[in-house]
């Protein structure tokens, strides 16, 4: 089998085409968002919100409302509860996050267990890439495009918020509102990625691409390019691997992203553990030769 066949064979199945489209889209939107999350230090928040939306999605399914609506409501509830627990007790923020998101996630699991069509909803937890229907794809497309457009149009304000919220305040912007916008987009993006890898692994798509890009460049504008490109490539590669190795598609997508991060972590010329040493040795060699 030559390489072209290798690439084309899975595409002869409609479900594979839909899987690849959904994944690429989710990967791009998550990756763009992840650039801010890793810089603000909101990885745990991403973990929390992506888990806490589960009961919202289940309730939305039960009443026939859009998933995104339920997810947004529960993201808001989660963030509010975290803030309340942190500010009104001696419990620190990481503990507050841990308590709130696991409780809400558990609520989601309980709700799933009492909802008639169980199989369908279990897909939300582990993702069901190969079972993406046409309406699913359209929903992901609409939400993804909306989240992506807002992130890109507001990227400079969000970066300012991440870098120096006090200056944002001093020039008359509202850091509170920018933070809320980012959290809202986080909820929206979580819904987009649910389809692909499921609640449990969404957080990987929300952290790994930004972290990988951060190790490769010193310019935020470049991070915004590198993260989605790497993430989309990893995700598509992951799907092909899962097709040929007959493994879990969501798991394979995340595993590929993790593997690429590991390579960058070791070999990035700027930040990599081994890469920086190699670069230093090369410089020394050049210096020695020029003497």
């Amino acid at each position: 089998m030559d390489f072209l066949d290798f690439l084309l064979e899975p595409l002869s199945y409609d479900f594979m085409v839909r899987a690849i489209l959904t994944t690429a889209l989710a990967a791009v939107v998550c990756a763009v968002l992840s650039c801010w999350l890793v810089l603000i230090g909101w990885s745990l928040m991403g973990d929390a919100v992506s888990h806490a939306v589960l009961p919202g999605v289940v309730l939305a399914y039960m009443v026939g409302a859009p998933f995104a609506l339920g997810a947004l409501v529960f993201a808001l509830i989660a963030v509010t509860l975290i803030g309340v627990v942190r500010n009104t007790s001696r419990v620190k923020e990481d503990a507050a996050i841990g308590i709130v998101f696991t409780s809400l996630f558990a609520l989601g699991l309980v709700l799933i267990s009492v909802t008639p069509s169980q199989t369908d909803l279990n897909h939300i937890i582990f993702g069901n890439l190969l079972g993406v229907s046409v309406p699913d794809l359209i929903q992901v497309l609409v939400l993804g495009v909306v989240a992506f457009a807002i992130l890109i149009l507001k990227r400079r304000d969000l970066t300012l918020y991440a870098f120096d919220p006090v200056h944002a305040h001093a020039i008359g912007l509202s850091p509170r509102r920018l933070g809320a916008l980012l959290l809202g987009l986080l909820a929206l993006t979580s819904v987009v990625a649910l389809q692909t890898v499921g609640v449990v692994l969404v957080v990987a798509m929300l952290i790994i691409p930004g972290a990988t890009a951060y190790l490769l460049t010193d310019r935020f504008s470049r991070m915004l390019l590198i993260a989605p490109v790497v993430s989309a490539a990893c995700s598509i590669a992951g799907i092909y691997l899962s097709y040929y190795l007959d493994t879990a598609s969501g798991g394979m997508v995340v595993l590929t992203q993790g593997a690429v991060f590991a390579v960058v972590y070791l070999f990035s010329p700027r930040q990599g553990l081994i890469g920086t040493r190699l670069a230093k040795a090369r410089r020394k060699k050049v210096a020695a030769l020029s003497v």
């Binding site: 810089l39 120096d164 200056h167 305040h169 020039i171 310019r219 470049r222």
Partner: protein, 250 residues
């Protein structure tokens, strides 16, 4: 005292702030005329940063009133008049932005919905970089500057912003002598152009060359006058609570 001519640049009138049970500012009052450089001196916990936050409108005082150039702090912020130079430890120096990117953030208040830079914005940024002598370092990542250059980068952001008032939090921490002289000269130039400058510091030796006036803060304004008077040892002892220590020992 100084002669009062027209509207003061900053007027803090009997401002009281509590954090829960803790009293951070106790009916503190301070009036600062335009184009003056004022050093705010006090130990940690004396309310320096709280006073900054009140002036910038980040904290609403429990009592009292703040006016910036005769306006409310929120209006002054929207007009882009307030520039802020953060303390070094409050900045993420690994953040992937160039010096030019940071200075451009001073222009955001002047720009539209997506903060797309116009020709005028870019010119203002280049002018500001030139003014603080960082043009040749403009493309460096901000963490790759020396301590003094870092401070100047943020001053440049205030210049690009067109701030008429600048608040600097510990501008001399981690800055070598030569850079300190450069920053002092730069701030004096800005003041002579009409910019009002308020500096919070516990680095006392730099104040006399830099400041027109100094304020001793210990939850309230203990003293406000020329630096050489305010910085007399007996006054400092009062602000830094040294007399209490001595009495405790005796």
């Amino acid at each position: 005292m100084n002669q009062r001519t027209g509207t003061p640049a900053i007027s803090v009138d009997r401002v009281t702030v509590h954090y829960g049970e803790v009293l951070a500012l106790d009916a503190a009052s301070l009036t600062l005329d335009p184009a003056r450089i004022c050093g705010l001196v006090g130990m940690n916990g004396s309310g320096k940063s709280t006073l900054f936050k009140v002036i910038m409108g980040m904290i609403k005082p429990d009592a009292g009133k703040v006016l910036i150039q005769g306006e409310s702090p929120s209006k002054a912020r929207r007009q882009g008049g307030i520039g802020y130079v953060p303390q070094s430890e409050d900045v993420d120096w690994q953040f992937p932005l160039s010096v030019r990117d940071v200075v451009m953030m001073g222009r955001y208040g002047h720009q539209g919905f997506t903060r797309r830079a116009s020709k005028a914005d870019r010119a203002a940024v280049e002018h500001a970089l030139d003014r603080v002598e960082l043009t040749e370092f403009a493309d460096r990542q901000i963490g790759q500057l020396s301590g003094g250059q870092k401070k100047r980068a943020f001053v440049a952001r205030g210049i690009a912003q067109g701030a008429t008032m600048m608040l600097l939090d510990e501008p001399f921490a981690g800055v070598d002598k030569r850079s300190e002289a450069t920053i002092t000269r730069l701030l004096r130039e800005l003041a002579s152009d009409g910019c009002t400058i308020l500096i919070s510091t516990h680095d006392l030796h730099a104040l006399p060359q830099l400041c027109d006036e100094a304020v001793l803060l210990m939850r309230k304004v203990l003293m406000h006058g020329p630096p050489d008077v305010v910085l007399q040892p007996e006054n400092l002892a009062m602000a830094f609570g040294l007399d209490v220590l001595n009495r405790g020992r005796g």
